[in-house]
């Protein structure tokens, strides 16, 4: 699963520009799957199991990642840009970025020696930043970059410390990797998996997928905010790496049906799968769109706890991802016959 994750994280695909990542995912599907791409770009995959289940269950994970879009090229050949999805500008300054066509650039502002005290202590804003590709003027820049081109953090996939992984776009390529893992297993029931688009700009792809597929139940496979680093106490940590799959009862976008939440917690307990829940109402995901789609679809979210979301260095622990994959399968099977 982590070999797949690495390939997925190193590929690019920010919201609205998921073509490359969609093609990569399709190339990884086993032969016994059928797939199609819907009008929005969602990749819908059907796989036959041993039996047709009582309930149709959809798994969903989003293919898109946060990134950037080139908005303007200045007379001096700098590229102004905006975030696609929620990104803190402080994680964008002083980085290498690459444009979709591979052109490398860097971001920065004037040297700290030239900043006033207020400038040094205030938050960096996207309006202060520009991508510098080394162009000597507008004309040279325009040969490499067009307005509307996507850009990405240029950073590797690295194993870290005690069984951890650092990469961009783990949100939500780990969800995609878990679905690909399930699709490669022998399943007792038919399954439908939606690799969705445009989650990062408002969970938009999932809305269309849920409407078209009209499942009886849905399970969203995601990452969620872990703030379990030094200096953060108690409930502010939200969830912790190493404590297993995060089962949510509520986030900023959805209130999960209590009986489904209880079922998932009980499954984890019975099977001895490490699981936890969040200690703050934070974040949101495709559930917010699915839960109210097509007359209402009871939905559950299972998430891998992830530090530094939406930065070039998302960090997860392998055990948590494996626990999430195991619980996802168990919950899927249960929902099929619920």
């Amino acid at each position: 699963m982590f070999d797949i994750l690495k390939k997925l994280c190193l590929a690019d695909g920010c919201s609205g520009d998921e073509g490359d990542i969609a093609r990569l995912i399709i190339s990884m599907l086993p032969a016994d799957c059928e797939h199609y791409i819907d009008g929005m770009g969602n990749v819908i995959v059907n796989k036959k199991g041993a039996k047709t289940p009582k309930n149709k269950v959809m798994l969903a994970a989003h293919m898109d990642e946060v990134g950037f879009i080139a908005t303007y090229i200045t007379g001096e050949g700098y590229i102004r840009f905006a975030p696609v999805g929620g990104i803190n500008a402080e994680t964008v300054i002083g980085r290498q970025l690459h444009l979709k066509n591979g052109t490398i650039g860097v971001t920065g502002t004037k040297a700290m020696h030239q900043q006033t005290k207020e400038e040094r202590e205030s938050d960096v804003k996207f309006s202060q930043l520009a991508i510098d590709i080394g162009a000597s003027g507008k004309e040279e820049a325009e040969q490499r970059v067009r307005q509307g081109d996507s850009a990405y953090f240029d950073c590797g996939y690295t194993e870290l410390g005690d069984n951890m992984i650092k990469a961009k776009a783990i949100d939500d390529r780990i969800g995609c990797a878990i679905m690909l893992k399930l699709l490669n297993e022998q399943l007792p029931y038919d399954i439908v998996c939606a690799f969705t688009v445009q989650e990062e700009i408002g969970a938009r792809g999932a809305k269309a997928a849920a409407y078209a597929l009209k499942p009886d139940y849905a399970v969203v496979l995601e990452t969620t905010t872990a703030c379990d680093f030094a200096g953060v106490e108690d409930e502010q940590r939200i969830c912790e790496l190493g404590k297993g799959c995060v089962i949510s009862y509520m986030d900023k976008g959805a209130i999960y049906p209590r009986q489904l939440y209880d079922m998932a917690v009980q499954k984890a307990n019975t099977l001895g799968i490490a699981a936890q829940t969040k200690t703050l109402i934070a974040g949101g995901n495709d559930s917010q769109s699915i839960i109210s789609a097509a007359g209402g679809i009871p939905t559950l979210a299972l998430s891998v706890p992830c530090r530094y979301l939406h930065s070039p260095a998302c960090v997860i622990k392998k055990e948590d991802a494996l626990a999430t994959a195991e619980l996802a399968r168990a919950v899927f099977e249960e929902l099929c016959i619920l």
């Binding site: 803190n88 300054i93 700290m112 020696h113 650092k166 939406h310």
Partner: protein, 335 residues
């Protein structure tokens, strides 16, 4: 000597202020192309002597600093996170979510902790490094006082522009090496004492020690300065691609500044002026007051985004700096 290749090699090395040994070793290897009389002094400064040094000629000191800005490990928390502080003036605004290398007994990777946008606008107060290890595991590799570099791979941007960390001042080191290449086998006006000094970013002690040891009669300090970025004032910057910046300042020798301007004009070497109103903020401040006083001038390479992992330099600015050093070494300070 290929300037880009040399710069990439130098900028790939660690060497945060006070921990320059590995970078120094590579620099000594590079100097061996020009003299056998080179090495590191007991303080860590890299030195090279080129010439007879038998009293026939005055001595010219060429200095650039080998250290780079970074972080230093202050504390390891119970749950295994490193608390660090800047070692040299690292730009704190660029640290969040950077991948770093902790230069301990073994090199290990880490990430600078940051709250995600989902947590509202909370800020991490201290510099916290997440290595993914428990305290017990971490202490096998890391001790208090170890240095930390921010990872950024040297890359070529559009033709002749390079991004890398530590261009400040490995570009200066590369410029001096290229100058040595240009004067190789030629009759110079001086015996030449090269110093790649340690600890410029923190104490400037390296240059004070090297300048004393050199017994130089005059000196050129080769460092970097500010190139214009979209948000900076033109009057506070040079421009990338417009050539070496010749320093003029009350603390520098105006006679040397004038001679360098004259040589640049005669040799058709692109140059620009960097006027400062007191000290230069470089090793020249230490060198010029060494022993009975050593007349000194700065030659600066304009770079963008100084003290960040993505500094940017144009190679032509390194080569114009080297050419002017070579012209000066060959023709001398004149009358």
């Amino acid at each position: 000597m290929d300037i880009i290749d040399t710069l990439f090699r130098l900028c790939s090395l660690d060497g945060v202020s006070g921990d320059e040994a590995r970078a120094a070793e590579t620099a000594v290897d590079m100097l061996k192309n020009y003299t056998d009389d080179c090495g590191a002094d007991r303080f860590g400064n890299v030195f090279a002597r080129i010439g007879s040094f038998d009293g026939d000629k005055p001595t010219l000191l060429l200095d650039a600093h080998i250290d780079r800005v970074g972080l230093i490990v202050n504390y390891i928390t119970e749950d295994g996170f490193i608390k660090a502080s800047p070692c040299g003036g690292a730009d704190r605004r660029v640290l969040s979510a950077q991948t770093v290398t902790v230069c301990g007994r073994e090199k290990i990777k880490g990430v600078v902790s940051v709250f995600p946008p989902h947590a509202g606008d909370k800020k991490v107060k201290d510099i916290v490094i997440d290595t993914g290890y428990t305290k017990q595991q971490l202490e096998k590799y890391v001790s208090l006082g170890d240095r930390i570099t921010i990872d950024s791979e040297p890359r070529e941007l559009i033709d002749g522009t390079v991004t890398a960390p530590a261009i400040d001042d490995r570009a200066g080191v590369a410029a001096i090496l290229y100058a040595l290449e240009l004067i190789k086998g030629k009759d110079t006006a001086y015996n030449i004492f090269v110093s790649f000094s340690v600890q410029e970013e923190t104490t400037e002690a390296g240059a004070a020690i090297a300048a004393y040891a050199s017994s130089a009669d005059l000196a050129l300090e080769v460092d970097v300065s500010f190139a214009r970025t979209p948000d900076s004032k033109p009057e506070e910057c040079g421009e990338a691609g417009k050539g070496v910046m010749i320093g003029i300042a009350p603390s520098l020798s105006r006679a040397l500044s004038d001679r360098l301007i004259d040589l640049a004009q005669k040799g058709e070497i692109p140059y620009q002026l960097e006027v400062m109103n007191g000290r230069s903020g470089t090793n020249a401040d230490k060198i010029s007051v060494t022993k009975g006083g050593i007349p000194c001038c700065t030659l600066s390479i304009p770079i963008k985004y100084m003290h960040t992992p993505t500094e940017v330099v144009r190679i032509e600015d390194i080569s114009s700096t080297a050419r002017l050093i070579a012209e000066f070494a060959l023709n001398g300070k004149g009358e």
